[in-house]
């Protein structure tokens, strides 16, 4: 009898425990929904940090741009406008003089001064994630409360782009030092000058920001009163949540779900071109792919239409260049290798492989595997036997990083400043280092173009250098370019004002709900 009671009690205890845990976890289901427009969006993963120096990913930059401002603002077209800096100019070759806007206040009420700017940039330079972006700034001299001089090693346009990056967000010196003295981190209480004020963040789940009523720039002030961004890794679940009205926006949707979404009249799809390109890179530093004829031959075997169908569910676009169409520095004016198996076969014989050859394709995760499979089938038709080796990210970059691969398939994304986009992939000093110089192609011409582009101040001229690099790379067929992805944002029909920038990064300030 006693034992029976113990069993019952144990069971009851388990029930209580479960319910109480469920209950206490319900604590954050706060009644934050006060008056005003409240918008809930879903993203496929959570942000890393509210500390601009502890992350460098797209989800986090959306959150950072909501809470903080940068000195220079990159608009949706990635053109530079005044942010916290009212104006900037080079007073000499090594000095960038910046005047910050007057009367800007942090969310905690303290005014913005040049001390905060100096503190933020110096703190950023110590960051492994975003320190490189401002590494050309040697020192910072405060002239007065609103003016400061940045001493730079070279007066390239890259400095301006660096200051517009989300990682160059301006923090409050007093606040951050206070937090750090207490042993806390910025994530405990993020304070910026941005259009939104931080409200809450449940790690792994969601964060909420509310409108900053005193924002200094009315053009970029927040329209919604409160925005929540929720992490929902499963796209199917996002679609159901959209249809039920549990969420208003899906920031990043998979192409596989589009048919279903387009059939639903209550949902709108915003499509945009991305900076992404998927390509196979030949390892030009070793045989057999040091042979340009062979590389060109294989370039003619890329069936982009099939790849688009199989790999991208019919979305996206064919690409012949070295980076996605919306990337700064992209050009479509390159040597184009259209799918043509006869040409491929002829070139293959010319290259010295009349009976075909066999090689190994390293594929970065199973994400890219469908594209590899399509290519494999086409290669087989001309007697080329390609083995697909799907690798985990770490192993893949270990391989390309030591230039041990034969051919490697993955993707690359553009950055606001083209030097960050092109340099890692084409600088010959980086062959076998870091793993991004996938083609391991050594060209003095490209090296000198990269060098010139880095120090050129005129953006139009800089771009010309990058276009030339694309031309040389395609002429030599160092990549087999395949496709570029489209991005999809899904809105419920009462939502507007959601536009991604060319980087695919979303800003929260324009969102409205009717």
């Amino acid at each position: 009898m006693r034992r029976k009671r113990i069993c019952v009690m144990a069971l009851a205890l388990l029930v209580c425990l479960t319910l109480s845990l469920a209950g206490c976890s319900g604590g954050n289901d706060s009644d934050a929904q006060t008056d005003g427009v409240s918008i809930i969006a879903a993203n496929d993963y959570d942000i890393t940090s509210f500390d601009p120096h502890k992350s460098n990913d797209i989800a986090s930059s959306t959150a950072l741009r909501a809470v903080y401002d940068t000195l220079i603002y990159a608009n949706e077209q990635l053109q530079f406008e005044p942010g916290l800096a009212e104006s900037w100019e080079y007073t000499d070759d090594n000095t960038l003089r910046i005047k910050i806007a007057e009367g800007v206040k942090f969310h905690n009420g303290t005014p913005l001064t040049t001390e905060d700017v100096k503190f933020s940039i110096e703190r950023q330079q110590k960051s492994g994630f975003v320190g490189d972006i401002v590494s050309s700034i040697e020192s910072i001299e405060i002239v007065d409360d609103l003016t400061l001089d940045l001493k730079v090693t070279d007066a390239s346009a890259g400095v301006i782009a660096g200051l517009a990056h989300a990682g160059a967000a301006i923090l409050s010196k007093e606040h951050v030092e206070g937090l750090e003295a207490e042993g806390k981190s910025i994530d405990d209480d993020p304070v910026g000058t941005g259009p939104f004020i931080y409200e809450s963040w449940t790690v792994g789940t969601e964060y909420t920001v509310k409108k900053n009523p005193d924002y200094f720039d009315e053009n970029r002030a927040a329209k919604a009163d409160r925005v929540t961004v929720r992490a929902m890794p499963e796209y199917n679940s996002q679609v159901v949540a959209l249809q039920n009205g549990e969420i208003d926006i899906s920031i990043f949707m998979s192409a596989n779900n589009l048919t279903e979404i387009e059939a639903d009249p209550s949902l709108t799809v915003v499509r945009y071109e991305t900076t992404e390109e998927t390509f196979a890179a030949f390892n030009c530093s070793k045989a057999p792919f040091d042979n340009v004829k062979l590389r060109q031959a294989l370039n003619y075997t890329i069936n982009r239409d099939n790849i688009i169908q199989v790999y991208m569910a019919g979305t996206g676009m064919p690409n012949y260049g070295v980076i996605g169409p919306s990337a700064v520095g992209y050009t479509g004016d390159v040597t184009k290798y259209e799918y043509d198996l006869d040409k491929a076969k002829a070139l293959l014989a010319e290259a010295g492989y009349p009976d075909g050859l066999s090689f190994n394709l390293a594929v970065c995760t199973d994400y890219y595997a469908p594209a590899a499979t399509v290519w494999q089938a086409d290669l087989k038709k001309i007697g080329v036997d390609m083995t697909i080796e799907v690798m985990e990210v770490g192993a893949y970059y270990d391989m390309t990083g030591s230039a041990e691969h034969e051919v490697a398939l993955s993707g690359w994304y553009g950055e606001p400043d083209p030097s960050t986009t092109f340099n890692p992939c084409f600088n010959s000093e980086l062959i076998g280092k870091g793993g991004n110089n996938f083609a391991c192609f050594k060209s003095d011409e490209i090296d000198s173009l990269l060098e010139q582009a880095l120090i050129e101040k005129d953006m139009a001229k800089r771009l010309e250098f990058y276009y030339e690099i694309s031309r040389i790379a395609t002429e030599n067929a160092v990549y087999a370019p395949m496709t570029s992805a489209e991005g999809f944002i899904i809105l419920r029909d009462n939502i507007s004002g959601v536009t991604p920038d060319l980087q695919g990064i979303i800003r929260l300030n324009g969102w409205t709900k009717s």
Binding site: A22, G128, F129, G204, A231
Partner: protein, 313 residues
């Protein structure tokens, strides 16, 4: 009894040490450079080198392992490479969600499976038995991501009575718990049924019936108690598995548990985070097993006697 528990707790130390060594070794020898994975593909070599220096990745394996264990002994699990926050904080943030989900799932499974298993056994080959076994087979074979999506379609899309995901309230818990609980329920039903069938054919059961004990009493007292030991063992194992193995369900329902965090940490080669997570799960798994062993003693006097004998021995 208490001495037995204490002994088991002490035995946890070598177990955890072993686990930590194996996992650390595998992580270390697996390909991938944490500096590159964490800082991103566009980070410079200088930044990566600094990262390696800062986290001691340039030191030899043995030095790193020993210093890691040394810190853990002092209660310091280090900081996650990826988020820069304390690993213990990251895990404790997510642990309640995981425990709630696993506990509710197993609870749901136990409550449904034991009666279902008993009835199936008593009415073997009847319609009830067939239906029960069909449900069990269904539950075991359905992949979780599919089951989860179907439940979402039914309860949130079609009926509109439960949220499709999220975390916070009891309503959010129901669908994920059903999804993880379903295979457990199926498993436990089958175990209960087969154990019951075995016990029901024993001589002492026939004896009890022969001397006139009511059928209900024989089943609940003589049969069920004897059949329960394997059921509890399996339930304990399932609970332990659920603590670490609900990644898919976490993703489908946006449930902020330990599983998805661990998987992400593994792909980023975030060594402190993976180590902390695996050690925590190993500890929980061992504790659950210990709890199961203790429950045995309450159900089976023979086992309790055995525990006590060990004390005198």
């Amino acid at each position: 009894m208490y001495r037995y528990v204490l002994k088991r707790l002490v035995l946890l130390i070598p177990v955890l040490l072993g686990v930590s060594f194996v996992v650390y070794t595998i992580l270390d020898f697996a390909p991938g450079d944490p500096a590159r994975l964490v800082l991103g593909s566009k980070s410079s070599e200088a930044a990566r080198e600094e990262f390696r220096e800062e986290h001691g990745l340039n030191k030899p394996f043995v030095v790193r392992y020993v210093s890691y264990v040394g810190k853990v002994v002092q209660g310091d699990f280090g900081k996650s490479y990826r988020t820069g926050r304390d690993v213990s904080k990251e895990l404790l943030n997510r642990l309640p969600a995981t425990v709630v989900l696993a506990a509710t799932g197993v609870l749901f499974a136990i409550i449904l499976s034991i009666p279902l298993g008993i009835v199936s056994a008593i009415k073997q080959h009847s319609a009830v038995d067939n239906v029960g076994m069909f449900v069990a087979l269904f539950g075991i074979t359905m992949p979780e991501f599919w089951l989860g999506l179907m439940l979402i379609l039914l309860f949130s899309s079609f009926l509109g009575i439960l949220p499709s995901g999220g975390y916070g309230s009891f309503a959010n818990l129901i669908l994920p718990a059903l999804t993880v609980g379903m295979p457990c329920m199926a498993n436990l039903t089958r175990v209960t049924r087969s154990e019951m069938l075995g016990v029901m054919r024993e001589d002492f059961v026939r004896m009890a019936r022969a001397k006139g004990v009511a059928k209900r009493v024989v089943i609940m007292k003589h049969c069920l108690k004897n059949a329960l030991i394997p059921v509890i063992t399996v339930a304990g194992l399932l609970f332990g598995t659920l603590l670490g193995g609900t990644v898919i369900v976490e993703n489908v329902f946006g449930w902020p548990g330990v599983g998805a965090f661990l998987v992400k940490s593994i792909t980023m080669k975030d060594i402190p985070a993976v180590m902390g997570g695996v050690m925590l799960l190993a500890l929980l798994f061992s504790l659950v097993n210990l709890a199961v062993d203790i429950i045995y003693a309450f159900i089976d006097p023979r086992i309790k006697a055995e525990y006590s004998n060990r004390r005198s021995a």
